[in-house]
Symmetry: none
Subunit: 223 residues, 4 copies
DNA sequence: GATGAATGAGGCTTCATTCAT
DNA sequence: GATGAATGAAGCCTCATTCAT
């Protein structure tokens, strides 16, 4: 960011690769740890042990524990910004199908980073104002595919939503809820049935009249 | 031994009142602290300072820090179990109106205990298995009015919901979301508009055909 | 001690009786507590609870926790100064039999105050210099019957001891050892067999030549 | 992973040495503290200050305060298991001389770890069941040389003891007594005279008839 | 006399962070 | 680049002691 980039020396490339590798190694270890022991239990020494590096090394790649936390969260949010748009594209042109695909992709990312996802909800003193703001901005940004799909649907006359942003944000929340209230939903649902049922419910509220048949597959419920 | 035991000593009543008063004092202080500095700030010393008592005194009323946290959460959940049913009763017989009243009441309780409500989402090592289980049970229990209203509505033919429990739980989540994502919603909404819009959106998904006019007031959106 | 004693008013007698009763009540409770939970576990609140009085009351009878400890120890040592001489008197004129009786009495008192006896060995910061000195003086004093018996025996030509004081003090130590190393001795011995065997062993070292037959009963070992 | 594993890294040796050094440093500091201020003074902060290290560092070498205490005690008991057998060997073949040497060695170890030795007698809540058991076992084990010497003496016909274990354990106790009742013995004795007199007294009880002349040097008393 | 609520210093332990090697 | 020993502030909790009632 503040590094001079006038000419990329081969040395720099190697360094860059190492930084990449170490960061990934640490981020994965952190995620693994949170998954295993809960996100509270991640001390820097535990993280070092899990990643198989020394404590000191962490500080070479992340300025502080906050930075690690921030990076873990950013990492998840980053997963959204690549995975979700991909899924949307694959869904084709239809805004309703795109919306469905976006929500499903959202839920799947959440599912594979369950504990990291919950982190977003920790209003920790550790994360300073700047960090929190960045996360909030990122979260809003990554929800953009959902928002766009809803808007497109409305414009195309296939969806009816007085407040497209609210609809989109609710879907985001329900995706998060899969992680937040996993203890509740897992009693009666699989990830797939969760996605299907929530989607069906949401569409019922916003699908334009007469389109029920066209999207019957998305409106079906139960197993 | 040499004490007269003819009747319940007035002393006991006084003691009971003191216990009540101290507990309230501490719980309120804890809530205040979370409101002001974030829920991380609830150290025992900070709590003591905020409540204007000594650290040792806290331990006369709560066995440990866990107990305090548990009590704060229980306190909020307790507020649901008195406020929500009252609101539902006042709403009359109609299940749709009862549902609306329940959701509104939920949101209002959340709003007045915003930071304590967020506590439920903290998977802290502090709360042990038993404590977490108790909270989960309580949460499910307190969501019962919502569930009952949805079920009644379905039975009365006024609502159409393939999975009433999911509908009810989603409403619960959206009520919580007012606290969890307050930073987001407060940019564009007041509590009242939040309640109105979320309710309208939810009803659109489940209101039986042809009842739109009867509940037009609940379906209106915007400011 | 520093109270004026010019005339004993009936009121004073009553007060005196109460003081006596309360002290006994507290001392017994303390002993009970030490017996049950180990002498470390005796907090003032635990003592109050065990004695069935309030914390504050303890401070009316004992100036501090140290005082209570001191009193408990003094209490045990006091038991020696009444019980042991009595036992010695009952044993008759013979110094050897008096010695045997003294040792047995010592052991029995120790046995019935096992945990309190161990207290003497705690070099606690709690007990100040004055307290420690007082205990040491008392201990030396209460061992006097043993010492006297040994000296008499030597004078009477029935015992041979280059250092009567050492002999007497060793016996005192062995009596204490019944409490200190109870976990060891209880594996193979009862109190009675402990007394008998230790006495037999000690007498072998000091009994004058040719008296073995006269005290054959004291020299027998085993069960 | 990328580390060469051809041989044991010299690094490990250095680490081992550091661990050794730190443990010794801390154990010595603990002993010094007990010596100076009494065994109550061993708070973790006091220990850190005395050892000239930080509080946190202690926890790198000992898991808890219990561990430190246990290690201090184990340390003394360890001194027995090396020093005493050596002294016994140097004493030659004769079981009586071996016994004398063992007792003297015992007393000398006790003398140089006086306050730590007293620790064994503290039935602290800190030491848990496992710790106490371990100490008890160690203590019994380290008294083995004494026991062996007595048994050998009996077998060789040089000692007469109905209960060799009791004789040995008493000698152990008397060695401890030098620490426990140092305030008493130091009034009239040096360590050397203590050893001599106690040994003489003990031998009188168990030396076989007619051997008084052979061991006259061990039976002499006084200064 | 008696109570017990209240205090707060002090003890144990954890863990983010630094720095010499 | 990497290590991990070392630091020390901060958190939780206990308990001897006081004092208003």
């Amino acid at each position: 960011m503040s590094e001079p980039q006038t000419s990329i020396k081969p040395h720099d490339a190697a360094r860059q690769a190492l930084v990449e590798h170490r960061s990934r190694q640490l981020l994965d270890a952190a995620a693994r740890l949170m998954e295993r022991d809960g996100s509270e239990a991640v001390s820097m020494q535990a993280l070092a042990a899990e990643a198989g590096v020394s404590v000191g090394l962490i500080y070479r790649y992340f300025g502080s524990k906050d930075d690690v936390l921030l990076a873990v969260i950013t990492d998840v949010l980053g997963a959204f910004s690549t995975t979700v748009p991909e899924a949307v594209e694959e869904a084709g042109e239809d805004p309703v199908r795109r919306l469905a695909a976006a929500f499903a992709a959202y839920c799947r990312v959440i599912d594979s980073h369950r504990h990291a996802a919950v982190l977003t909800y920790r209003e920790s003193k550790s994360l300073d104002e700047a960090g929190r703001d960045r996360i909030k901005r990122l979260e809003v940004e990554t929800s953009e595919p959902l928002r766009a799909a809803v808007r497109d649907g409305v414009e195309a006359g296939k969806l009816v939503a007085a407040d497209p942003d609210l609809v989109a944000y609710n879907l985001l929340l329900l995706a998060h809820a899969w992680a937040l209230k996993h203890w509740y939903f897992e009693q009666t649902r699989t990830l797939d049935s969760y996605i299907r049922d929530q989607l069906a419910l949401a569409l019922r509220a916003i699908l334009a009249d007469g389109l029920g048949d066209a999207y019957a597959d998305l409106l079906s419920v139960g197993r």
